[in-house]
């Protein structure tokens, strides 16, 4: 009988261990299958003239805008935002990943990942676990609920056969953001509404030179100002330190 128990327990232990420690970890930080912390710099290649420099008024290329959005954007005047003290309108969560920014990612606590930008000096907080958004006014960065999506526990070798280090964990970060203060997708007044909803997938890779690369795939839905879901990707390169970190306040024009 002891032998049977031993066999069963061994089999179950093997199963649970092989599925990764992450699912049983006490908090999000301990469960992290990837380490996103550190300094990251964006690589601006596609849509350079819409992302690196303020796009011209009326430039909505690649954004699936509705006629209602076009009407607002065509009437956009940066002076009005400056007068209203709303220079950060193009720095909200749905816009920030596309901007020429660096990111500084740290753990604020065991269940909250903090993402700061030097461009516009914004802070996003990714809340794991059973976090409930507090009641209150909408904010530029909104409320973000995060979860790790865990994948195969072991390295899958060529042909899909298992092998490699069984202790190595794999996965990505999924973030859903809502409750965002209305702002602009780009620095030329393309609007998003308070009903905007953004889903992001953050993936981490190591390139052949050994440098870490981060890719963010994001889906944005806005029933008022987007004709269909707007899906994009952005990529960042890990930097060794914060020596190039350059905090710059929001600007409605540059």
């Amino acid at each position: 009988m002891t032998r049977i128990r031993f066999l069963i327990l061994s089999a179950f232990s093997l199963c649970l261990c092989s599925r990764g420690f992450a699912q049983n970890a006490p908090n999000a930080k301990a469960a992290a299958p990837i380490d996103l912390t550190g300094y990251w710099v964006t690589i601006i290649t596609p849509d350079w003239r819409e992302r690196m420099v303020p796009p011209a008024k009326g430039d909505y290329l690649a954004v699936p805008i509705t006629a209602a959005a076009q009407k607002i954007a065509d009437a956009w005047e940066p002076a009005n935002d400056e007068a209203a003290g709303e220079q950060c309108r193009s720095y909200g969560a749905p816009a920030i990943n596309a901007t020429p920014t660096r990111l500084h990612i740290t753990w604020q606590d065991d269940n909250t990942l903090k993402v700061e930008t030097d461009y516009g000096m914004q802070t996003r907080l990714f809340h794991f676990g059973n976090w409930k958004p507090p009641a209150g006014p909408v904010t530029w960065q909104g409320d973000s609920i995060a979860m790790w999506e865990l994948t195969g526990p072991a390295v899958l070798g060529a042909g899909g056969n298992r092998g490699g280090d069984p202790a190595r964990r794999f996965g990505n970060l999924k973030v859903t953001t809502t409750h965002v203060r209305p702002g602009y997708f780009r620095k030329n007044g393309i609007p998003y509404s308070a009903n905007v909803r953004m889903t992001e997938y953050w993936d981490l890779f190591t390139d052949p030179s050994g440098t870490q690369r981060m890719m963010i795939t994001q889906q944005i839905e806005d029933p008022e100002y987007l004709f269909r879901t707007w899906i994009t990707t952005y990529n960042f390169k890990k930097e060794p330190d914060g020596s190039k970190w350059d905090p710059t306040p929001c600007s409605a024009r540059w």
Binding site: A67, Q70, L156, F205, R213
Partner: protein, 320 residues
């Protein structure tokens, strides 16, 4: 006898349960097969009207790469010997194409031997070998699809491509050499397929050219795996003389500065280079070049599918 039977059954159940637990996620999350529709949400001009000649922004080219780009004349594509020439596998990451992906399996073991990325038009099928075969000698023939091998890292398919032909880096004439190599990281998030492309070229780039792209599962789309047959014709009487290769000599490309002029950009920005990829270049634009954005968009302003949106959709300046 009964105890023996119980032990055996329990052992079998435990092993079966373990196998089920271990195998579930891997098989569920690594199936890349299907038709992945092109998502129009980035690479606006590149996927629409095509990049302007002289628009090298955000690409880490060196002086040689820039010179080759400026020597390029699109009339080359009308030459009978070039009309059926495929683009390289790199074009898949920015071209306006769906991806048709399927696997070849070993009929005996059931293991995947290769993932294949279909061609549609303009490029060849890329076979991503998963059976551990090595890359051949650098001196081996370079096919249009290059030579690609893949490995899984978790649920990411890492594809390494070598042996590409000299081909376009961007549709406006920038080229990559036949010594270029490419590493692609392909992940699936539900009905989205995302790809990070890390492209190296010791001849025309100063640092890796890194791009990210996304496709969406589109099972109802019919998208060919192979390129249709191509038959060259004489498109221009001038090109019937095979001694002519359309090109511009150094400093003689009349369109070289058009892009910078259209968008008020300093030539140093339009001509690209690694510095133009990073955020600090903005400060240079502002402080050194005193860049001022154009007052109003006058070309390639939008591509929304909403029929109620009327705007300038191409280079004509006409609202449509």
């Amino acid at each position: 006898m009964l105890d023996k039977f119980r032990i055996s059954t329990l052992k079998s159940l435990a092993v079966l349960f373990c196998i089920l637990l271990m195998s579930g996620p891997a098989f569920a999350q690594v199936d890349l097969s299907g038709i992945w529709g092109f998502v129009r949400g980035q690479y606006g001009q590149e996927n629409g009207g095509g990049s302007d000649i002289g628009d090298y922004t955000g690409i880490p080219i060196n002086d040689e790469g820039r010179a080759v780009g400026l020597s390029f004349s699109p009339t080359q594509w009308s030459q009978p010997e070039r009309q059926c020439q495929y683009y390289s596998p790199r074009y898949a990451s920015t071209g306006p194409f769906a991806l048709n992906i399927w696997s070849d399996t070993d009929p005996v073991t059931g293991r995947i031997i290769a993932w294949n990325m279909g061609a549609w038009i303009d490029k060849d099928i890329v076979n991503v070998w998963m059976d551990g075969r090595p890359h051949p000698s650098a001196n081996t023939f370079h096919p249009f699809g290059g030579f690609a091998t893949g490995t899984w890292e978790g649920d990411t398919l890492v594809v390494r491509t070598t042996h590409m032909k000299w081909s376009i880096l961007r549709i406006n004439g920038l080229q990559h050499s036949d010594r270029a190599t490419m590493t692609q990281y392909i992940v699936r998030h539900g009905d989205l397929l995302s790809m990070l492309t890390y492209f190296e070229d010791p001849v025309y780039l100063t640092e890796p050219y890194v791009l990210s792209s996304v496709w969406q599962l589109s099972p109802k789309t019919n998208f060919s795996r192979t390129s249709p047959a191509c038959e060259p014709i004489n498109e221009s009487p001038r090109l019937e003389n095979t001694s002519i290769v359309p090109h511009y000599l150094p400093g003689k490309n009349p369109f070289a500065n058009d892009y910078a002029r259209y968008y008020n950009l300093p030539l140093e920005a339009a001509q690209g280079g690694a510095q133009t990829m990073y955020p600090e270049f903005r400060k240079k634009l502002k402080d050194v070049y005193h860049y001022v954005p154009p007052e109003k968009c006058t070309r390639y302003c939008c591509d929304s599918a909403d029929p109620a949106v009327k705007c300038i959709r191409d280079g004509t300046g006409q609202v449509r």
